[in-house]
Symmetry: D4
Subunit: 224 residues, 8 copies
Amino acid sequence: MNRPAQDDICLDLQRIERIGIEEAVFSQGKADVHLHEIAQQALATGKPMLFTRLSQAQLDSFPADVRDKFNYEPISRTGILGPVPNVVLDGQVAIVCAGTSDAFVAREAERTLRHHGVGSKVIMDVGLAGLHRILNRVEEIKKHAIIIVCAGMDAALPTVLGGLVSSMVIAVPTSVGYGVAAGGESALRATLATCSAGVVVTNIDNGFGAACAALRMLRSMKLR
Amino acid sequence: MNRPAQDDICLDLQRIERIGIEEAVFSQGKADVHLHEIAQQALATGKPMLFTRLSQAQLDSFPADVRDKFNYEPISRTGILGPVPNVVLDGQVAIVCAGTSDAFVAREAERTLRHHGVGSKVIMDVGLAGLHRILNRVEEIKKHAIIIVCAGMDAALPTVLGGLVSSMVIAVPTSVGYGVAAGGESALRATLATCSAGVVVTNIDNGFGAACAALRMLRSMKLR
Amino acid sequence: MNRPAQDDICLDLQRIERIGIEEAVFSQGKADVHLHEIAQQALATGKPMLFTRLSQAQLDSFPADVRDKFNYEPISRTGILGPVPNVVLDGQVAIVCAGTSDAFVAREAERTLRHHGVGSKVIMDVGLAGLHRILNRVEEIKKHAIIIVCAGMDAALPTVLGGLVSSMVIAVPTSVGYGVAAGGESALRATLATCSAGVVVTNIDNGFGAACAALRMLRSMKLR
Amino acid sequence: MNRPAQDDICLDLQRIERIGIEEAVFSQGKADVHLHEIAQQALATGKPMLFTRLSQAQLDSFPADVRDKFNYEPISRTGILGPVPNVVLDGQVAIVCAGTSDAFVAREAERTLRHHGVGSKVIMDVGLAGLHRILNRVEEIKKHAIIIVCAGMDAALPTVLGGLVSSMVIAVPTSVGYGVAAGGESALRATLATCSAGVVVTNIDNGFGAACAALRMLRSMKLR
Amino acid sequence: MNRPAQDDICLDLQRIERIGIEEAVFSQGKADVHLHEIAQQALATGKPMLFTRLSQAQLDSFPADVRDKFNYEPISRTGILGPVPNVVLDGQVAIVCAGTSDAFVAREAERTLRHHGVGSKVIMDVGLAGLHRILNRVEEIKKHAIIIVCAGMDAALPTVLGGLVSSMVIAVPTSVGYGVAAGGESALRATLATCSAGVVVTNIDNGFGAACAALRMLRSMKLR
Amino acid sequence: MNRPAQDDICLDLQRIERIGIEEAVFSQGKADVHLHEIAQQALATGKPMLFTRLSQAQLDSFPADVRDKFNYEPISRTGILGPVPNVVLDGQVAIVCAGTSDAFVAREAERTLRHHGVGSKVIMDVGLAGLHRILNRVEEIKKHAIIIVCAGMDAALPTVLGGLVSSMVIAVPTSVGYGVAAGGESALRATLATCSAGVVVTNIDNGFGAACAALRMLRSMKLR
Amino acid sequence: MNRPAQDDICLDLQRIERIGIEEAVFSQGKADVHLHEIAQQALATGKPMLFTRLSQAQLDSFPADVRDKFNYEPISRTGILGPVPNVVLDGQVAIVCAGTSDAFVAREAERTLRHHGVGSKVIMDVGLAGLHRILNRVEEIKKHAIIIVCAGMDAALPTVLGGLVSSMVIAVPTSVGYGVAAGGESALRATLATCSAGVVVTNIDNGFGAACAALRMLRSMKLR
Amino acid sequence: MNRPAQDDICLDLQRIERIGIEEAVFSQGKADVHLHEIAQQALATGKPMLFTRLSQAQLDSFPADVRDKFNYEPISRTGILGPVPNVVLDGQVAIVCAGTSDAFVAREAERTLRHHGVGSKVIMDVGLAGLHRILNRVEEIKKHAIIIVCAGMDAALPTVLGGLVSSMVIAVPTSVGYGVAAGGESALRATLATCSAGVVVTNIDNGFGAACAALRMLRSMKLR
């Protein structure tokens, strides 16, 4: 009575032509049979494919020959099936993190960009509890056209940066914290309610989405 | 025992140099004495100043000679104190609205851009209940580097547009609707949870903020 | 001091006569002793019984002879105790899914219908991030009197379909996603706030309920 | 600098052909200039148009000659611009209300159906605080293929009806009540979490939407 | 540097004299060292002590000689350290459950009452999806002065009972369900917003609290 | 096209026989035509009728001869249409208020009881900010079988009383306060989460419901 | 049947001896008769009394001779009945505001302190959208033992200050803003989730409470 | 492609000079490689470092020679890497707990203070269900300049203490409880809405933050 797994999959392989962003696989919650089928279809295209939120257990469920083709990074839980491209554009995107705990989001953004051939400058652990840390780096940061800022808890860092630089500031609230912070709802609300004009926001922990917004902007800038 | 109103004001007049966006006045909830004092200080600078969320009653509270200097638009409740600048840049920004009820947000964005010398193409009432309306306009819309999409209720329009164009898509959830929609919380959540990669979001009804994000991007593109 | 398990059970075996839908067992959270007792009573009736949200661990807890009588489908976590009926009605119900991750809900609907002798057409992975996928299938979909649409995250698919077809559209928001989406609250709110007139909604992940609504409608149509 | 009002309007006049439901105007929050322009365009079509959530103040803002063309019902705040059609289909839809306070929702449903030529049987004030009231009417209610149930506070009525009849049950949670009930959130949650299989739900107070769902179903039944 | 566990405990052994209810131990989240120390102090008093929400793992952590003194019931996760008293009062309290899944709450209430020498009549699985089940038992139920009603999901049962009997009705919303129901928030809101006059409510899953309310009432009735 | 108002009303006049509580009219949100029709039907019965949450504007909308028959109390916004009965039972119910701002709830309870012939002792403004105020009154309070405690903000008073007396404690959270307190959600949550065993809770501001619970208990005690 | 107003009032006049803070009157929502009675009792004591959240309409409701004894400040809506004391302690408390819109909270704090004889330094409009504004004032601010920081929207200011000074930082989230910010919930969550160690928080808009916390601390410092 | 772990860390070692509080490590959610690198950097400074929310599994992940340098306390899950300092200040801070279940928060506060050389008096299990417990200890408690009160569920204890003492009262809502209490949201709201003037609040379970607030105050008092 059950349908074959391939009937459940409809990859959007022309997405890159349409919107400049590659189809990617949101792995969390997908059944193993579905992930395996997607990998087969991806391999058949001959192009690399990004899997986000791919757990170690999901990775281990693949047949060994497929698993070996993954470039996997455990902190971001991203797997790139196929070769990781060379960087063909650099110097436009900075990724700034309030705390070391936000690294999993920053790396998802970094790897999504890299998967599209875009390099990025990562600046970690410059949260506002010690304001000098971000002030020391502002000159370096403001040289980038696009700044992705990952912050949890009270997520005040995008506000401060937004008031100091004219670049595009994309805030990624993270789920770091506990109590009222846990889940990132407070960080999300704070970034949306920012008093710094023109800061935009993605879903909680959505490093992938912030990177894709950067890709849209780079394309509008004719850099991609 | 009360302090003079001028002690309560500290305008950030160098904001335009620092981040490319003019200081603006969020009027909602401000006392009349504070608004009047701000207007005096703004007039003294000789430069126009944007007042957002300025109610008709607040406008009427000004002395007649000041009130007459306002260019006021009632649907967006924006007042520009001083001359409205000429458009010096056009063709880069589209503002798309799901419904006529979202006009108050679209106009706030439109006027914020205009206050900075940027023109915009406004396309209204193309919500998904009749999909053909947006499909008929996609070719026209996708020519713009930046697309601001205002939508309330289920706010599905940014998702559809995000899947069709490679431009920067800035979603502004609006408070249009009732029941679960009212206040814009559903629209906000839907835009943040969009399945279209790289759509970014502002606070509910924040046409001003979306316009400012566009200004940041235009500056990064060296167009301003 | 403890009561015998059979005192805790009161099956509603006349439900099918009263409302046209069979009594079913919501397994999640039930104690093993209760599930086992229910299975005994069901087997005694000689009629098949549907168990929803039956985990693999719960299935394994049954005595082997009972366990072997289950037709179990792991993605939907549904177990049918007794024979799965032949399809006696087809072509009236389509089940449409935004993403492969929504399969667990779609299959619960599909199997609930099948348990009542109703076939359904399943169309998977046609979410709005690639609008062409759903547009390619609209003609096929609109031939069905009833369309069950399963979608998580921003759940914009029911709105688009609702604007294109005159069929009954039953939206099932799913818990797929993370951050603001997780748990399905955003999808639920978006479907309830839909701008497409006459779309109705069930609880999050409630494929069973959507199927039962379809059964009600088919009965009103005198097709069952 | 302001755009003419007609540029803000894009009526979907083919909706009736596409999905069997007429375009309607959600009036709440719309500017008077927009409502007036919509009325002009509607009158130009020569077909009646339904305005929902039209306040008395909005109605009074119309020029007298337009205002006089409205058939207005104050409890539901619905205005039909143009003639109210004759009933061409009857006996299929019942509208059941838990309390007299829910009348504003029931009437919106009733008038939306009537605007499409469909009559309905309204049964009011049969809430569960006195169970006999609904039990006395069940035989009468169950003769209808579609039952719209409007209930606020704990909204238990759809559950009880759903367990007694095989008809399609469309629950409309209402905003009636106070404290935890106010706004209809509790009623909404209760109807979505109903233990009666196959009850579907609309947004809070959405009598219009429930009527449109009934219209979809009647069309599938080839009765319209 | 750590304090001895006994310094962290201050049992309220005179509670029974003061308010007619025995001190009890809320075990969930307590450290094993604290539970063990409490058991030692309880044993020293020579009186039985009720432990609620005591997990199997916590039970197993006790030294064998203490663990053997527990009368443990796994569905309610209650442990009575010391002898379970004889029933000295019967016929006053009924415990009614909407579904079998609510058994864990009903049994917590039943055992709390029994720990105080009060018997209770338990009536399970009479939820409203099949209204006849509760109507069949109303005459039996209404003979009790106090009715504890445990219900999850939409929790409509207390409303129906409250409209049929003059007894004290204490509603206990349960965490049974999923989606909007999960966690019991919907059941809680529905019971608080009940349209039946004079139904009172406890915290979600709080069978213990409902039993204690019954104990207060029995004392006021001079039956204890 | 509109239905006559009497078709919208179905009074439950046998409620007093069935559950010991009179039918009452929840006035908030009801249309004037409905209130007037209810009053006519009530007067026809010859028995007094309680209207709760009846605003001054609603009261003034009645024809003068009906309005004059109301015994109206503005703080509780309760109107009794017909004579207020004599007290036939006293000394069983105390109503305790944390602050003067809670008076509107306390009076609704007091008047609901009085409407049923039950007197009550009201003790106001004994909130915990000055603990001595409640300690000074505990001996007096504990003589009552039933204690209704009205408290807003943090609503700690029911917890303290619950730990001091063996009476039935019915907590009524009130909407008094602002910020996190406003609307009574914090008070409601605090009373439901009370650490005092056996305190029961009603909806926010539901003085009527607390009084009805007291009426249920008095009937079980054979005092009514 | 109504009780005299004085029975509803129980002033806590010894509060100042007990905890070092004067009894004050929370006016919002109180009935006029209650406010008038409180004023009479306060005047009888011969000591000044602070009324918070006293609307202009409430003030106007007093008999003229009482109204004239109020020192009223409209932005904070505070009225001091009786003489405003001289400042007897200065230099210990700074009140810092993110925006001019927060003035109503700052002034409530300022006037509560002054009512207790404590002066304060107010520094307004130094929000993070222009970081230089607060950096310019840090040296001046850090000389105070206690810093009350009022901020709405994303409320990032307490975090930045908390990382720069060793003083006690008391954050008062304000209800300034709209969309996700409105009501102050976002500001509240952000301040509670602050990444700066040891910042404490009061209720939204609670300038009175922050001032009282300062009074507690000054007393512990033996300065009062 | 991955960055070395040391590039992700930027310790704020001058925090103690700037604000009087040592840099500390929030361990929850940090990757093991990051924790190990932080420990190396901390050891290199020669000064002890506090790790909060360090799970047993995280502790076990350290190389044995580093793990052995931790002074670990399992209930609070705090690890001090390096020697625990002697107490250099005592008698100023009391830590009061409503229940034994709150011990994990109290110990985090106690150990944070001790890490800074400050002793504290801990008073456990004095919740309001038995009011005498706290009344018995008030004289002892009020001798302390600072009182940290840890309470979950309804968290009424800070309110009662705030009304009895003039000391600084810092409330720490805890996540103890279930149903509406779970997660500490109810306790948080109750403490923020307290009717006792001048009680301040930290994030849920934030014993560390409360201790840091005490450190700020002690420094302002020139005791540190």
